[in-house]
């Protein structure tokens, strides 16, 4: 296969699925947040690969602009998410998501 867009998209898919598996199968809330960051990075790789390879011999900047916005939102999400995890740890002395079930019906 000719080296190009497909390689980057498959790398992105591999990273996204590793992150998805970790986010679904882990018990520690900090690790779940780390896996969500892996998923966001995978999406960014796909966006930047599209910006580079979709039109031959040119770079479309829109994909890179989208990646910048995703990085901004990821930084805000990491700050608020870790603050919530620390607040939960203070009240329960645990960051196990299976024990944080007081809103369960």
């Amino acid at each position: 296969m000719h080296f190009g867009l497909e390689h980057y998209l498959i790398l992105s898919a591999v990273m996204f699925c590793i992150g998805l598996y970790g986010a679904l199968a882990k018990r520690n809330a900090v690790v779940i947040l780390m896996c969500i960051e892996i998923m966001l990075n995978a999406v960014n790789i796909a966006l930047v690969a599209f910006s580079r390879y979709l039109v031959p011999n040119a770079v479309l900047l829109t994909g890179q602009v989208f990646a910048i916005f995703i990085i901004t939102v990821a930084a805000a999400e990491a700050a608020v998410g870790l603050a919530i995890i620390i607040a939960i740890y203070r009240s329960r002395q645990s960051v196990d998501v299976e024990q944080a079930d007081s809103m369960k019906g």
Binding site: L20, L33, M34, V55
Partner: protein
């Protein structure tokens, strides 16, 4: 050719580091390998002609988010529990593999060479510094993203205040 060699060096390190984040017992080592993973993503951005984005990736992900994660692990670490799986280990693996198979099927079967030109996007030649062009793409009068940029600043302010309120000691 150099791009291809760099890709085949960076991609296995990235996937290995991401797998280690999921599979390692020690959360602290997982966080350090996640930072390695962020650095390799910055390298992949450089192979994709996105130098400004690579710098942003190192500053924000490897720097800010990495340090934030390590702080959170230090504040909430429970050494005897480690990094366990929950009881959804097998169903989650099946879901992840199904998503992977679907995405790879779509990527391989799609003909990506159909797009020849896009009128609404800022274009630039390959192998040039991107910083100036990204400024045009963000702030251009007709093609730019000025309103989302301003909303992002409000979002960051809200996240800043929200994080402080959440972790503030109430006593």
């Amino acid at each position: 050719m150099a791009v291809e060699i760099a890709f085949w060096i960076l991609a296995p390190i990235m996937v290995g580091a991401a797998l280690a984040v999921v599979l390692l017992r020690d959360i602290f080592r997982a966080a350090l390998l996640l930072i390695l993973c962020f650095f390799t993503v910055a390298g992949i951005y450089i192979t994709l002609n996105a130098d400004f984005l690579a710098a942003v990736q190192v500053l924000i992900y490897a720097g800010a988010i990495g340090i934030l994660l390590i702080f959170a692990i230090m504040l909430t670490r429970n050494l005897k529990e480690g990094n366990p799986f929950n009881r959804l280990k097998l169903p989650a693996l099946i879901v992840a593999l199904l998503v992977f198979a679907t995405v790879v099927g779509v990527v391989v079967s799609t003909n990506w060479a159909t797009v020849t030109g896009v009128s609404q996007a800022v274009e630039m030649p390959v192998d040039q510094p991107t910083t100036g062009y990204i400024a045009t793409a963000l702030f251009d009068q007709s093609k730019g993203f000025v309103l989302p940029f301003e909303i992002a600043s409000v979002l960051l302010l809200a996240a800043l205040i929200g994080a402080i309120v959440l972790v503030k000691d109430r006593s």
